[in-house]
Structure formats: C-alpha cells, structure tokens
Symmetry: C2
Subunit: 416 residues, 2 copies
C-alpha cells in the first residue's frame, strides 16, 4: 500500500509542480466561472450557511448583494440568503479562490488563469487594496464606490492589457519574486511591482485616456497585494492539477471560511474535512488585540498548499517585521515544512537555502506521523463586519483535521 501511495503522491506533486499557470484575461464571473449563475455567491473556505457565518463573511455577502443591486441594505441581503433565493457555495467548488471573505458575485470581474501544461483553469476576483474593503467585510458606500470604479474603469483596461501582452506567466513571476524577498502570500510586494511593470506599458495603450491609464497603473502599483489574487488563482490551478489522483495522500486544498478550517485530499476527491478555525498568532495594529480578531479566514492558504507562503518564508526575511519573529525563524519555518512535504519545487527556489526548492505537496501521512501541522501566514480580520485588517501573523490548522482525513483515507482504500 505504501508503494502505491508513494507513487500516487509523486504523480500528484509532479502535476502540481509542472503546472504552468498563465494569467490570460479577465471577464465577468457569470461568463467565465463554471457553474456561476445569477443567484449564486461564492465565498472562501469550506461550505457554510448564513447562520454560521462570521462577521467579515456576512459583511462581504451583504456588500456583494448591494453591489449587484439585489439588496438595498443588510436586512434585504440577509433575507435573500436565508430564504434560499440566493445560494452560497465555496469558491473552491467553482475553480475559484478569493482572499479573506473571498466573496465573488455574478457581475464581478475575475482573473482567468490557464494552466498551460494540463489545460485546467482557475479564477479569482480583483484585489481592492487596503483599508475598508469588501474582503474584510466592509460594505459602506465608500467600499461600493471603489468597487464600481474597479469594475467600470479598471477591469476593462486591465483585461485589455493582459490580452495585449499575451498573458502573464505567474509561475515565472513568482519564481522571480521569491528571489526578491516575497513569500507569495502575505508578502507580494516584489510580485506586485513586477506585475505592474509588465502591464503598465499595455495599460498606457489600452486606457481610453492618459488620466485613466495613470489611475489604473497607480492602483496596481501602490497596492502591495495587487498580484495576490492572480497568484492565488495560479496556485489553485497548480493544486487542482494535483487533485483527484487515486491513492494520493497529498493535501490539495486548505481554506477557511472564518468559522471552519477545511482541507481536501487528492485521493479523496471533493470531500472536505473541517474543524473550527483557530485564531492567528501574530502582531496586531495599534489599538487592537487578539480579542478583536476573527477566527482565521480566506482561501489564500492555497499558496501554502502550492509550496509558497509560510512554506517559502526563508525567502522573505523582511516579512518578520510584519508577522513577528526573526529572520532565523523564517529560515526555520521553511526547514520545518520539508518534514511534511513530498517534494521540493523545481521552479520556486530559495536563495537563502542555496537555491533549494520550496517544500511542496503536504503529505497527510507525514503530518500525522510527525505531529507537525502546516504553517500558514495570514492577515487578521476584525471579528465585526467592516472594520478591516487589524493584524497579521501565523496560524496552523488543527492536527485533528489531518488525523480524521487519514482515517477516512484508510477506510476509503480498504486498509487499516
């Protein structure tokens, strides 16, 4: 049995590593995302009902329905969802991922990623920047105005620019960004300027006028997370390439909806294993403390699933000022993750470790055997809708999730 698991894992991880995700364009969620319909809202993490949703997720769902023109206020939005008129589904069930609340509604613009090696596609929404933003559950008029500008002005220009430069090779961009101090999850500073640099000439030509070109370039360039969403979709495309490999114990999804942390395993198809979300440990912005923090939320753990984020911490020593710790802790974080992964990435390398590949492909068995759970870098949302980010730090999914998944794996494949 171990042999067939090993070879299945090799296959799953090879597919993840060989995937070449290219950002090919941008369009309306309704037109691009498989299974999207007029009465569906996507969200981060495993499936959840309104009743169990945390503050930031509820806020983002309300905000999305206001953005769609379906609801005028909170009550109307809640009624639409509770009545079942509008249904909820995980982004992950629709080849998509979204940071924090991760809410995608039918008329939102989404990035399209194509895995040029295996042909599968993945999607993510636009990054709104910092402050009061939908993904942290804010939905005031200020947030709506920003969303309208992004969709009416920015998205068409950005979409045309992406097409004009024949796509952006996100795997190559990430490989370069790791040599420039990014880890690809909390720190996407280099990636975002590389992204802006590549698109800016095309934006200059695609924009209806110079002022719009300047505004769009500035919005991308001044947001150190502007590339996070395409990066997440790229990681989703890579992880999906490694999913549904029979006999494989490789984790292909880690995601949080703000209430539960969920994982999925390659050899166990679409089945979620969930557990209450832990609280991140880290640094809080002035005036906030752990009491204000929401349990962990977002699909951005797809970066760790694909061998980035906390797994690539050694490449990003400067991040420690943001998430706490020392550069040595950053090295140790990556070194620890080699203990629970099946391979070293051939495209993502870490100069600080003599260009060793990042640890990739979390093996369920290794997690349970060693008791070492995956590390995740994360932003911390306020527990109330609309406040926004109040810190950043580290979180680990509960070990019980992996134990439970391994028991199910043993049952599924008839051994124990």
């Amino acid at each position: 049995m171990a042999t067939s698991i090993d070879s299945a894992n090799t296959k799953a991880v090879e597919r993840m590593v060989e995937a070449r995700p290219v950002l090919t364009g941008m369009g309306k969620a309704l037109d691009l995302i498989p299974g999207m319909h007029e009465n569906l809202l996507l969200h981060a993490g495993p499936p959840i009902a309104w009743e169990q949703a945390s503050g930031p997720l509820r806020g983002a769902l309300i905000g999305a329905l206001i953005f769609e023109g379906r609801a005028g206020d909170e009550e109307e939005a809640e009624r639409l969802i509770v009545s079942g008129e509008v249904s909820l589904a995980p982004c992950h069930h629709h080849s998509s991922v979204g940071p924090m609340a991760g809410v995608v509604s039918p008329s939102m613009a989404v990035y399209e990623i194509e895995n040029r090696t295996h042909g599968n596609r993945a999607y993510s929404n636009l990054n709104e920047g910092y402050g009061k933003v939908l993904r942290y559950g804010a939905y005031s008029e200020e947030v709506q105005e920003r969303l309208r500008w992004m969709h009416e002005v920015m998205a068409p220009v950005l979409g045309a620019a992406i097409e004009s430069c024949s796509g952006v090779d996100i795997r190559a961009l990430l490989a370069e960004a790791l040599h420039m101090g990014d880890e690809g999850h909390n720190r996407n500073k280099a990636g975002s300027v590389l992204y802006t640099k590549q698109l800016a000439p095309h934006i200059a030509k695609a924009a209806p006028d110079a002022a719009t070109a300047a505004d769009v370039i500035e919005a991308l360039g001044d947001n150190a997370l502007s590339v996070l969403n395409p990066v997440m979709a790229a990681c989703k495309a890579m992880a999906d390439a490694g999913s549904e490999v029979e006999h494989s114990t490789i984790v292909t999804t880690m995601a949080r909806n703000g209430t539960e942390f969920g994982i999925r395993v390659s050899g166990l198809g679409g089945r979620w294993f969930t557990s209450p979300c832990p609280q991140p440990v880290g640094l809080y912005f002035p005036g906030f403390s752990a009491e204000d923090g929401n349990p962990d939320i977002g699909d951005s753990t797809i970066t760790e699933t694909a061998g980035l984020g906390a797994f690539a911490m050694a490449a990003a020593p400067a991040i420690v000022t943001f998430v706490s710790g020392t550069p040595q802790d950053a090295l140790n974080a990556t070194l620890e993750m080699y203990e629970i992964t099946a391979a070293e990435h051939s495209s993502f390398t870490i100069p600080q470790l003599d260009f060793r590949g990042t640890p990739v492909g979390i093996d369920l068995r290794a997690v349970v055997e060693t008791g070492i759970t995956p590390r995740v870098n994360t932003g911390i949302a306020h527990r109330e809708a609309g406040v926004g980010q109040i810190g950043a730090g580290l979180v680990r999914p509960p070990l019980a999730l992996f134990t439970e998944a391994l028991v199910s794996f043993a049952e599924e494949y008839g051994f124990q």
Copy 2:
C-alpha cells in the same frame, strides 16, 4: 591625534548617512553640471589622457563626440581630444558620476539629485540598458540611434514625470530595495521596478501620446539597471556630504577609468591616489574569458563608498548566480566590510543580518591595519571598444593605494 581623527570620521560618516538624496529632475549636462562647457567631456575614474585610455573609454569618448555632431568618425574624434580642442575631466570633478566609461557630453540629458539635508547636488547620465551601449565603449549607428531616442523622446518625458511626482526619494527607494534582494550596484532589479512603478503613472500623463508612454515605461521597466544612474548620483551626493572634513580618514571616492583605480580621502581634499586597475574576478559570459576582460572601469564604486554594493551583499543572496559564490559568501562579504568601516547605516538595513545597518564609511586606517581592502561588485567590459559587457564579478583596489594615502595623511597632518 587618534581622538581628533575619530571625531572627524564620526562627523564625515554622519554627514554621509544623514544625507537624503532626492531625484528632482533632469536636464542638459551643459545647463546643469557645474563647470560643464561645450568643449568638455566627462569620464569615469581619476584624471586620464587619451594616450593612457583603454579601449572601452576611448570608444565611449568617440561615441560621445559623434553624438554631439562634433566628429564624423574615430580619427576626427581622436584628433579633437589629442589636440586639446576638446578636454577631458573626471565626472567626480564636476559633482557627477557615470557607470563604466561614464562619459557625459555637453548636450546629454542628466539626472539631478539634491541632497535635501545638506543642499549639495549630484548628476548622472541616463542608463542605456544592456548590449551594445556607449558606457561599454560601443559607438556604432545602432548605439547612436538609441542615444538619440533616449534624448529626444525619453528624457523630456522622464524629466516631466520626475517633476510631476515631486521627486523620487532615492534613499527610501534603496532602503526598500535592500529588503527586496538588491545590493544597489550590480543588482538593482527591485530598485528599477520600484522606480518604474513610481514614475509610470506620471509618464502616462506626461507623454505626448499613449505609444510614447508605453515605450518609455517599457524602456525603464525592462532595464534592470534603469535606476543605477540615479542611485549612483545619490551615492555621490551622500559621499560628497562626507568629504572635505579635516582630519578625517574616511574614503569618499573610489573610481576607475579602465586604466587606474583612484581613491580620495575626506581629510585630504581633492587629491587622488591612483594605482593600475586590477582585473575583476568573476563569471564570464559564454565565449569570453579573463583574457578578453578590460581592467576594472567605472564610477559605480561610489555605491560601495556609500555603504551599498558589495558592502550590502548579504541583502542580495540571489546575486551570487551572477557574480559567483554562495549565499554564505554573500553574508561573509558584508561581515568582512564591518572590519574596515566606521559605522552602520541607519537607513540601509539588511534583513538577513537581523536588520543590522550596512557597513559604511571606509576608514583608511582600518584598511591598512587589517590589510582588508574594500570589496567591489562590478561588471566586466571587453577590452576592445564596442563589444560590451562580458561578465561580472568582484574586484578589490590594491592595498598600496590605501597605504600611500595614509602616509600622505600623516604628512599632511604633521605626525608620523
């Protein structure tokens, strides 16, 4: 005596570190550079005559006279210089610096840097990118065409963009770039994309049309050395702030003209100490070897003088693939430079060394006492004019230079 030297050195280094160089604009060398005139060409390194000039420097001088419309060919250019009709002077004598041959002619566009702390200014030319370029001594029609485009199309747009964004704080940009894997000399990849990112929205608005905006943004963004020249001028402004401090043994200039390596010392005014240039040791591009290499050339050693470049190697582990060595060697390079410097930089910090400041302010006494000469990262030029860059590596000025300067210092200040 030691006490007065120590306090003079503290003053000199404090002035270097406290200098805040801001890129404020761009204009014609003739209009901006102090002492520039119609019959003057500036060049890298200490003073030199045509007869002693190496291939790349000769090529760049010829190319500049062709660019100026003063000469039609090599012979005519040589005659102008040898006859004394056109004279040569070091960039350093005119508040300027230039990479490699470093040739600046009267009608060339130059960046202007203002040190907002002490008020002094410094200048550098535009970076042409890679391949056949004037700074490596190439002067063919292809090179001239590129220079004309840069001066007629790019420079006016760039100048307007710099003014429109109220200047670019180069010290802040460098501080950020060091946290993104740059060392500020051979590796200015992050700095160049940060620079492009900051200017791109202003270029979009300043350009006469969208196609020109796109071309200028692309020229900046695709050249990983586009920010090198403003960075060098910024380092010159910082080093100049620390110069001419009586009793100070701090080195305020290191520069090479392709024949001689020269240094100047704060307490010894404008006096050059020179010695034949050593050959860099490093990696050669395919098809080239040490035999093809020119002796070391360029004013870019101003970066090491100001606490960057090889002194900041620890921040740039990815550079080792370019100059040879391992990431551990990069750490060791910086650690060694603390042995010969008077301070640690308060703005330039190295995440990999727990955010320790870069070693800054080379103390002549420490170099002579320890026998440790400054490390310099450098590009390697072909010894013949016009071939271009053939490698990159490390060089160290001869110890004798520092011994000679220390002897002169002792004579000057009447002790020994």
